[in-house]
Amino acid sequence: MMPRAYVPAAIARQPWGVLVPLIALTGFGAAVLYSAAGGRFETWSMSHLVRFSIFLVMAMVIARLPQELFRKMAIPVYIVLCLLLVLVELIGGIGGGSQRWLNLGFMTLQPSELMKPGIVLVLAWFYSVLPVGETQNWRALAPAAGLLGIPAGLVMLQPDLGTGLSIAFGAVVIMFLAGLPLRWFLGAGAAMLVIAPLAFFTLLHGYQRNRVLVFLDPESDPLGTGYHITQSKIAIGSGGFLGKGFGDGSQSHLNYLPESHTDFVFATMAEEWGMVGGLFVLAVFGLIFRWGLKVALNAPDRFPRLLAAGMTMTIFFYMCINLMMVMGLAPVVGIPLPWVSHGGSSMMTNMICIGTIMAVERWNRVAPRSLS
């Protein structure tokens, strides 16, 4: 990406087009977390950077894996993840109450998080092996729907609406890009418009319904769920164009803003860095997504293409929902902002996505796209 004569080949070969934005974003995130911790580096920033470093290495390793391995592992990985989801459900059932993670001793594992890239992987594999002629009929849809239905259903059962929607979003994007007939999507969209209100009143849990209602009118519950949205908007709005200055955000420092270092980290940032900081974050994400989709377009075959685009859209979904939530455009769902929010699970998921896209980019170099 940065061919410079004087740069060693090993370094020049690295995908700097994504690494620079990633490092910039993570570094900025660490700075925001430093301020959110009241000027303490050890509280959150250090672990944030350490995790990024570890998962970056992991992504590099993933990037070195051959395409064949990805194809072979798609189904086993998917099955293992589904089993883990069932296991979580069982443990939760026994322990009473909902549980989303497994305690592995050294870390807690959230299988539903891993299912986000997992569903992209398995569906990309499915459509790559599906004969071209079958893409326009039910045989292109039914197995995919099954592959999506099992994990999405299990995650919704937990109940974790945000992750469930995220998984479904990844799957639908793959189907869309795989070339399934447009009218299916239009029809499904129309059906959603009908079903959504019904589901709202029947399927959603009380607290989930409440969150949606409060999202529509945050002032109706200023001290409950609406408090999050209201305080987040106050933090972002009071920052203005240039922000209150690094370390001077009263909303986060005086604890008015809840979850100031995780889900609402963007509000913490925007209060101190203002709209300029917000535009910077948006721009960096834009670079990452452009890189991801470019890699997808450059890929020679269906599998890497769908894989790269699906992974990109998975990260996009994270960012999109999180930012819409903190700015009061979406209900409060527990989805962190990639590379800025403090948290291990999402960092891992996003770095798996990045690693996969990097792998696709490497495959592209090895076997450049033929003119087909």
């Binding site: 909303q251 997504f289 989709l293 700015m327």
Partner: protein, 693 residues
């Protein structure tokens, strides 16, 4: 797409479709990016001002500092109502987790007696969430510190330094100044001022404190702190000092007010002293009274019981709400009416102890008769027959007009709610009120201040002042040193002089109040006695027996008689006659000229009475406390109910027990038991027979 769907699908078509759809995804991302950027701009730039304000109101916690209330001063600048710095402890009921445990802890720390604890518990149960309930005020530093230290385990308890209202003269100014108290829920509904629910803040509830609330209130200060969401204070951002309320200066003479209140002693009565040249009210005492200090602290159940069960109605301001038949105190006024109507003062009538009016005999208070009586003698001997005779000749209208000119039945703009103005009857009034023709005996009754005629003590004082100075004085409570001189009533000076001389004779000569002579050599006082029947003589003789059947005692006076400066009206409810009233008037007037002499007299009296007002109230309180302990049966009313009940307690009894519509028999003017120091004509025995047919 339509084209594609018809063609056999191929890998190339799928690739083409992938590229186009990826572009759609990219466009979707760009669209979302623009949407987010727009939203960000909307929040951070367009709505910046709003959210900046919200953020500030989050960050900055404003604590109101209640303003110091304006002082109430007397005419010399002495405080009638002041503020005292104190330490206090309040409770916000909403924030208390376990009221019983909290109160138990506080009772231990503050040494609260059990009845007080029960009062506070009652209030905690009744209080709405935002209303602070006072636990204790005027605490010393040690107790205050003890509570402050234990705050973490006492949620909802607020110890603070503040100011509390202090009335140095106590009960003597209870009715005059009023009292303050915590704002009630209703008052807060009306005026949603956060100050009203600030712990320790009190508003005027009665009297001047209420009437001049806006002037006395002042502007609260504020303390700005930066606080976290959980309320922990991070730093102090600054304090704005309060602006104390403006003081009001009264025409009252604090020393005289206190003296008058104390001199009433064990009686139920009132004293009004006015400057008869300007109308300045120098004293306006109604006793027994309540101690505004304890009212302002939130009255306790024992004290409430003590006040509400007292038949001397300490809660009623008798000066403005008490209505009495004025008795013979109207005679100088009636004589004035006769003079103005052209009656020759030397015109005389023969008093044989009674006069036949129609087919009824109206008795003179002196049944043995006064012999030949002219106007002067009619006044100083208070001869009823003289007035019966000439009132019939000159008619009621002359008298009623003069009564109103001199202030009876008139409303005066005094800053108090719920005054009673009484009645000056005349034929038109009777027709309006009872649809009955005016009868001759109505005139006869009215001339001796009985029957329908009702006045309040302030009106009597105004009457005395106007007779004394011949000026149209209005009672004035707010001091105004630049007030223009009061204009004349337009009476002939020789008429005034004549009345003055006759009234002087009442005290200094052959009159009915010889003992009222001032113990001062060069100051002569002029006055007029009055004894007003409460019930007919068939019920009680009015002198002794059941307290509430005894006659009211009246005395109006002014001094010096030849150059009137001060006028005074005294009423002693059920005092048994004017003999109960004029000694009080004498001593109060003495105080104006020779305070030492007056105080010496009072000291002797107070020794007999069992101490001064404060000591007697304390003794009474102790006896009640001993009797009922912490379990006074009637719980103390909360603030709203208190105001209401005070109002009820104040409503005057439905006029004097029986309105004497028929011929009244005037009660004797001089008490039998008197041992006159100077030698007025020997007192006569009461006349008993009923004047009714």
């Amino acid at each position: 797409m339509k084209l594609n769907s018809r063609l056999p699908i191929s890998s190339a078509i799928l690739t083409n479709r992938f590229e186009r759809r990826t572009f759609v995804m990219g466009a979707l991302q760009a669209g979302v990016g623009v949407l987010l950027a727009t939203r960000l701009g909307y929040l951070a730039v367009a709505q910046n001002e709003k959210y900046r304000a919200d953020s500030e109101s989050n960050r900055v916690n404003l604590t109101l500092i209640p303003p110091r209330r304006g002082w109430v001063l007397d005419r010399f600048g002495n405080a009638l109502a002041a503020n005292r710095a104190d330490f206090r402890v309040d409770i916000i009921p909403d924030r208390v987790n376990d009221p019983d445990r909290t109160m138990a802890t506080l009772a231990g720390l503050l040494d609260l007696p059990s009845d007080r604890v029960r009062d506070i518990r009652d209030k905690l149960d009744k209080a709405r969430g935002f209303q602070p309930v006072e636990v204790a005020s005027s605490l010393d530093w040690d107790k205050f510190a003890a509570v402050s230290v234990r705050l973490p385990e006492l949620p909802g308890v607020i110890p603070q330094r503040g100011y509390s209202r202090f009335y140095p003269a106590g009960a003597a100014v209870g009715h005059l100044v009023g009292y303050v108290g915590a704002a009630s829920a209703e008052e807060y509904e009306k005026d949603r001022n956060p100050l009203l629910i600030t712990p320790g803040y009190k508003i005027g509830k009665d009297g001047l404190e209420k009437s001049f609330e806006t002037r006395l209130r002042g502007v609260p200060g504020a303390r700005r702190v930066e606080a976290t969401a959980s309320g922990r204070i991070v730093r102090d951002l600054g304090t704005r000092e309060d602006v104390p309320g403006r003081p009001i200066q009264l025409t009252i003479n604090a020393g005289l007010q206190d003296y008058a209140a104390r001199r009433i002693g064990l009686e139920s009565g009132s004293v009004v002293v006015m400057d008869c040249e300007t109308g300045d009210v120098l004293a306006m005492a109604s006793m027994p009274s309540f101690d505004p200090n304890s009212f302002s602290d939130g009255i306790g159940r024992i004290e409430w019981k003590m006040l509400s069960e007292d038949d001397h109605v300490p809660l009623r301001n008798k000066v403005l709400r008490g209505l009495y038949p004025p008795g013979s105190t109207v005679k100088p006024m009636v004589a004035m009416a006769f003079l103005e109507a052209g009656l020759d003062p030397s015109a005389s009538v023969s008093c044989g102890g009674g006069l036949r009016v129609g087919n009824r005999v109206f008795h003179c208070w002196n049944r043995r008769g006064h012999g030949t009586v002219d106007m002067a003698k009619g006044i100083y001997q208070s001869c009823d027959v003289y007035f019966y005779h000439f009132a019939q000749k000159l008619g009621m209208d002359v008298i009623a007009t003069m009564a109103r000119r001199l202030g009876l039945g008139q409303e005066f703009p005094m800053p108090y709610a719920g005054q009673s103005y009484g009645t000056v009857p005349d034929p038109a009034w009777k027709m309006r009120k009872y649809q009955k023709e005016w009868a001759l005996y109505d005139t006869v009754n009215a001339t001796i201040g009985q029957g329908y005629m009702l006045v309040n003590p302030l009106q009597q004082a105004v009457m005395a002042s106007r007779i004394a100075s011949g000026r149209e004085v209005m009672p004035r409570l707010l001091l105004d040193r630049k007030a223009p001189p009061v204009k004349s009533m337009g009476f002939r000076q020789d008429h005034l002089d004549f009345i003055h001389a006759a009234m002087s004779e009442v005290v200094n000569g052959r009159g009915t109040a010889g003992r009222a002579k001032l113990p001062i050599d060069d100051v002569l006082m002029a006055g007029k006695t009055g004894t007003a029947q409460v019930v007919g003589l068939n019920v009680a003789n009015g002198k002794n027996g059941i307290w509430k059947y005894r006659d009211h005692g009246h005395f109006i006076c002014f001094a010096p008689f030849d150059k009137p400066k001060y006028a005074c009206a005294v009423i002693v409810e059920h005092g048994g006659g004017s003999g109960a009233a004029y000694p009080i008037a004498r001593d109060v007037m003495t105080y104006l000229f020779a305070p030492d002499k007056a105080m010496a007299v009072l000291d002797d009296f107070e020794k007999q009475w069992g101490g001064n007002v404060q000591q007697r109230m304390a003794t009474r309180y102790d006896s009640f406390a001993a009797k009922y302990g912490g379990s006074a049966p009637k719980p103390v009313p909360d603030d709203e109910a208190l105001t209401e009940q005070v109002e009820n307690a104040r409503k005057r009894d439905t006029a004097p027990a029986t309105v004497q519509t028929d011929a009244a028999t005037p009660p004797p003017e001089e008490p039998v038991s008197a041992t006159p120091p100077s030698a007025p004509p020997a007192p006569q025995l009461p006349t008993a027979p009923q004047g009714q047919p």
